[in-house]
């Protein structure tokens, strides 16, 4: 008989959280700490969602999405997780750019960017200050008509090099483009610019292990390999979920699954009104990614002057379309030195490129494998520009594609940054459609990335807690009139 991953699970919980990405994990922990009974269901065999890692023979550990987050993570981890988790967050001080327009190294904060823009790019100081102030002052309720491209044109007219410096890292961080609303750019960019780029010492595996321990302490019932088939709705209110062939009741459900999958697959379109369905249909998924994972032989070292993050490109100009093309001209390298996992003697490189699902989905299995091999080889060639001896030092290399992301996260089209801006309003409106149903996950660019997802988990946990208090049955219950 197969193992019952729900053995001992209760019939009923206050809240069921579907999916253990950083938003789902943080929502579950926050709700349990406020006194609710919480069941966390993850379809994969490990927690973390896109915040994940994998191991390969020889002791190599690759991080998938540990590339750098804003300083706000320290506060969020301290408050919603633990002092120990917050204390492991350290700065990545060497962020590099190398492209036909410029090469530079920066700490990626406002002070250093101001210096670079004035001294190296010769932009008037007043424009630089005005741009930073405008980006900093942006919030969620502002006008959404202005695009990122228009924002840049206002402060740096005709300066393609400046746009590249300001935009390329954010495009890699969350898939946003020059056509997206300026506010989504301004909020994310300002978060990074406040203190620079940070990482988690010990790697993603250690972070998720610590979070798992914290969930247990908070009293969350954590279950892996539990694939939710259906969110159950009765009389316009959420009633529970169907998981691994079993029904479990709940007064509230938080879905950390992909937004559109939640609405159209887990709940079903007929539980939503027409206007909402149209809005949800119209939500654009963000793009996916390809990555190449390269592990050096034990003890083989990388020169730290390579930097921590390197935005490299051979394209003459910055163009969003070019970033998604299978004809790869731009790559972001994350260099992981042994200090990433103190005590380790391993150095690793992960190369990331943005990619379209449709470019990979239609291939025959032969072409798909050949394309993956080609991706590894061309990436090694490209990396040799910075690490000439890479092939001699290499112990293991492999690639992932949009199909890989889809396989492990079940995100539609392997979306690695959730949805475009309009997804946020749809995510927020779900509880008005189905009482007690909530969505927390990467949406609207602002709520993407490790910090965005984590904070969105808290925001939604607050909504859930408020809903449960409001909808608490009156005691003693009024006898039903039948």
């Amino acid at each position: 008989m197969p193992k019952d991953f729900l053995q001992g699970a209760r019939e009923r919980y206050d809240t069921i959280v579907i999916g253990s990405g950083l938003a789902g994990l943080t929502a579950a922990n926050t709700l349990a700490r406020s006194g609710q009974s919480v069941l966390l269901l993850e379809q994969h065999y490990k927690l973390g969602g896109m915040a994940t890692w994998f191991k390969r023979p020889g002791g190599h550990i690759f991080d998938i999405s540990l590339h750098g987050f804003p300083v706000g993570m320290v506060k969020s981890c301290r408050r919603y997780w633990s002092e120990e988790i917050a204390a492991s967050i350290v700065q990545l001080k060497n962020i590099r750019f190398d492209n036909p327009m410029f090469s530079l190294t920066t700490t990626f904060n406002r002070e250093d960017f101001t210096r670079l823009l004035i001294e190296q790019f010769q932009v008037p100081a007043d424009n630089v200050r005005a741009f930073f102030d405008a980006a900093r002052g942006m919030n969620f309720f502002d006008d959404q008509a202005t695009t990122v491209g228009q924002l840049f044109e206002r402060y740096f007219p005709g300066r393609e090099d400046v746009i590249r410096l300001l935009m390329e890292p954010i495009t890699y961080a969350n898939g946003s483009t020059l056509e997206d609303p300026a506010i989504s750019y301004g909020i994310v960019f300002s978060n990074f610019m406040s203190k620079g780029v940070f990482t988690f010492q010990g790697g993603t595996d250690r972070l998720i292990k610590l979070m798992h321990e914290e969930l247990i302490k908070s009293g969350v019932d954590v279950r892996i390999k539990c694939d939710v088939q259906k969110i159950l709705v009765r009389d316009g209110r959420v009633a529970g979920v169907e998981v691994n062939g079993r029904q479990i009741e709940a007064r509230a459900v938080v879905s950390n699954a992909n937004l559109k999958a939640t609405i159209f697959h887990l709940v079903g379109a007929d539980h939503f009104d027409r206007k909402f369905r149209e809005d949800a249909e119209a939500v654009r998924l963000n793009n996916s990614s390809c990555q190449v994972y390269m592990a050096l032989k034990p003890g083989a070292e990388l020169d730290e002057s390579l930097g921590d993050l390197l935005f490299s490109s051979t394209a003459p100009l910055f163009r969003t379309e070019a970033l998604l093309s299978r004809d790869v001209t731009s790559r972001t390298y994350s260099f992981y030195y042994p200090r990433t996992r103190p005590g380790s003697d391993r150095s690793l490189v992960v190369s990331s490129t943005n990619a379209r699902y449709s470019d990979w989905a239609g291939l025959s299995s032969e072409d798909y494998e050949a394309s993956k091999r080609d991706l590894v080889e061309t990436t090694l060639d490209a990396l040799a520009r910075y690490v000439p001896e890479i092939r001699e030092k290499l112990d293991h290399a492999e690639a992932s594609t949009p199909l890989t992301f889809r396989h492990y996260t079940k995100h539609m089209e392997g979306a690695s940054f959730g949805t475009k801006f309009e997804g946020l309003a749809v995510s927020r409106a779900i509880p008005e459609q189905v009482g007690g149903l909530f969505h927390a996950g990467s949406v609207g660019i602002i709520m993407s990335g490790w910090l965005g997802a984590m904070n969105y988990g808290v925001i939604v946990a607050n909504d859930v807690d408020s809903w449960l208090l409001k909808s608490a049955p009156m005691t003693p219950p009024v006898a039903s009139v039948s």
């Binding site: 926050t30 706000g72 408050r79 925001i459």
Partner: protein, 86 residues
């Protein structure tokens, strides 16, 4: 709870949210955001903490009432006057 007690509760919550800040010279009629490094997540934490401790519900549209200490205490007074300080 009296307004003085409500203020003490808010100060206690703020101490947890901004442990590195000195709250002793906080001006009651100046926006908290101008005196402390608070972002929107911090205000959400105040709301969550009040619900956790006293089951006080603050709808999202009313978050603006939490701008200054005075406005916060004025806003909360009718809701918390019959509660005992925890």
């Amino acid at each position: 709870m009296t307004p003085v007690e409500i203020k003490a509760v808010i100060l206690d919550i703020l101490e947890g949210i901004a442990p590195d800040e000195d709250l002793s010279d906080l001006k009651d009629d100046v926006p908290l955001r101008e005196q402390l490094e608070l972002d929107s997540m911090d205000f959400l934490d105040i709301v969550m903490e009040l619900r956790k401790r006293y089951r006080v519900q603050i709808p999202e549209d009313d978050y603006v009432q939490l701008a200054t200490m005075n406005s916060t205490v004025n806003y909360l007074s009718p809701m918390m006057k019959d509660l005992e300080k925890a």
